[in-house]
């Protein structure tokens, strides 16, 4: 994946209520009273230099400056006195977890080195939550960038360097792969995938559109028609867009339509959908348009103007959807 693929796709912030709660954490402590697990020492410097292939003779008399963060890490067992992480930072991460932003990825590291660290130096550190971004949608998923800034000091309190670290806490755009315990014959795995695969999103049914979904349950595609000006409308709304009247009736559409426009979805993949697939903007014979799946035609054979016919697709035991079958040329 390239950098460009992760640039923001959008920055929806107007209705982002969570964002306000998150930014309230800016300026609060992220970690305090942290102490290095070990003092700066030659063996760790040597292991680092061997791993990096760094033969700089200045080391290990001084530590490679880029080890700055390594001296603060808890390692496999963690810090003996518990994490230095603050309750505020834990809360911030928990808020993000609760919002579905359970995955984390490091994106940026900015370090400034004030003085060299030498074997024997004891390390202390503290950190502040510097910023929380508005909600960002990236190729990985939608989430928030959280930036912390850590001060790393030696035992005498002298600043050795600063370490700014940025993570993206996000809701993954695709489901994590199922762990596979052992290989199985392909047909059976395919069948299991069919059973286990994520379900399509459920429609949001409310007072305004309940009639539409009742129609779907009876295999009727219902649109609304204004009782005052007779304008047809779809999707379902309480008032007429033409004359503002709130009086309407439900009318069953004939089911005939044409492809007014379409897109082919390649990426990103969503759970329960197998890209590439075509999504059509269908113009019904009654004059209204609806977004729907197109069946019966390969995704790359869908064309504007193609005649389509309504059918109902049983998605799973509780969801049925109106879709449109294309007449292949």
């Amino acid at each position: 994946m390239t950098r460009d693929e992760l640039h923001d796709l959008d920055e929806p912030n107007g209705l982002d209520e969570l964002c306000g709660r998150l930014t309230a954490y800016e300026g609060r402590t992220a970690a305090s009273g942290g102490a290095g697990r070990d003092p700066v020492n030659e063996p760790m410097i040597r292991h680092w230099c061997e791993a990096m292939g760094d033969t700089n003779p200045a080391y290990p008399d001084i530590a490679p400056p880029t080890m700055l963060q390594a001296w603060t890490m808890g390692g496999l067992a963690g810090h003996p006195g518990g994490s230095a992480r603050s309750a505020a930072y834990d809360e911030l991460l928990a808020l993000l977890d609760d919002a579905g932003c359970t995955s984390v990825v490091a994106t940026d590291c900015e370090q400034e080195y004030v003085r060299s660290l030498r074997p024997g130096d004891e390390i202390t550190f503290d950190a502040v939550i510097e910023s929380v971004s508005p909600r960002k949608t990236t190729k990985l998923g939608t989430g928030y960038f959280v930036t912390t800034r850590m001060n790393v000091r030696t035992g005498d309190g002298e600043l050795a360097g600063t370490h700014r670290f940025r993570i993206l806490k996000y809701a993954p755009a695709r489901p994590k792969a199922e762990p596979k315990r052992e290989p199985e014959p392909e047909p059976r795995r395919a069948a299991e995938r069919g059973v286990d695969r994520p379900r399509r999103p459920r429609p949001v049914i409310n007072r305004d559109n309940a009639g539409f979904w009742q129609g779907v349950a009876r295999h009727q595609l219902l649109i609304q028609r204004c009782l005052d000006c007779a304008a047809p409308r779809f999707p379902w709304l309480p008032g007429c867009g033409a004359c503002s009247s709130q009086r309407w009736e439900a009318v069953e559409a004939s089911g005939a339509g044409t492809v007014f426009s379409y897109v082919v979805m390649h990426h990103p993949p969503f759970p329960a959908f197998d890209p590439p697939y075509a999504v059509g903007l269908i113009e019904l014979a009654e004059g209204v348009r609806m977004v729907s799946g197109i069946t019966g035609v390969p995704y790359d054979k869908v064309r504007i103007g193609m005649p389509v016919e309504l059918e109902f697709l049983r998605v799973d035991e509780e969801l049925e959807l109106p879709v449109f079958r294309g007449a292949e040329a």
């Binding site: 760790m44 700089n56 995955s103 590291c109 993206l168 792969a177």
Partner: protein, 179 residues
């Protein structure tokens, strides 16, 4: 060594081996499983283990001091990650001096791998003060490491230029947060 704006550093090719990824993760005390356990990485949606950000940081630092010599001092390393470094790939680090002022140079560094830009960054390095225009500053000093670490060179405060603006996200695929 005379350093001028526009100087290009010779590329450094780094084979991305499992050994490098694991050794770098452990040397940086980063035990996130995605940096050493391929099965765990796959369960989290990554095709394989991948290099952690601390190792990338270390390699960028090494690239700069390899070039400018052991008496050069890193003052600032700011990196942004992009395409992950997976085993079997190769990363090629390139660098260009973007400014030189008051004994420090700023170098723009890019690390490309087979799938894109793994890292882009900016490094501020304090140049050796007593060897201007004398060719390879490294050569005269490698045998006397003690002389490479004069207090004057190491205790000077860092340059305090504004941090790189960093609004655009980049990616790797799984957790990489030190505790």
């Amino acid at each position: 060594m005379t350093v001028r704006t526009g100087d290009e550093l010779p590329p450094l090719r780094i084979p991305i081996t499992r050994t490098l990824i694991v050794a770098g993760a452990l040397a940086s005390r980063d035990y996130q499983d995605v940096h050493h356990d391929a099965e765990a990485a796959k369960e989290k949606g990554s095709p394989d283990i991948f290099m952690n950000i601390l190792t990338t940081n270390g390699l960028v630092g090494r690239y700069i001091t390899d070039h400018f010599g052991p008496r050069a001092r890193l003052r600032k390393v700011a990196i942004r990650l992009g395409a992950p470094n997976y085993p079997g790939d190769e990363m090629v680090l390139t660098g260009e001096v973007t400014s030189v002022a008051e004994g420090t140079a700023e170098v723009a560094v890019t690390g490309r791998n087979g799938i894109g830009h793994h890292v882009t960054g900016k490094v501020t390095v304090q140049l050796p003060t007593d060897a201007p225009g004398t060719g390879d500053a490294r050569k005269g000093t490698t045998d006397t490491p003690a002389a490479t670490d004069t207090p004057a060179a190491t205790d000077t405060p860092a340059t305090t230029d504004a941090p790189a603006t960093t609004d655009a996200p980049t990616e790797i695929t799984t957790p990489d947060t030190p505790r």
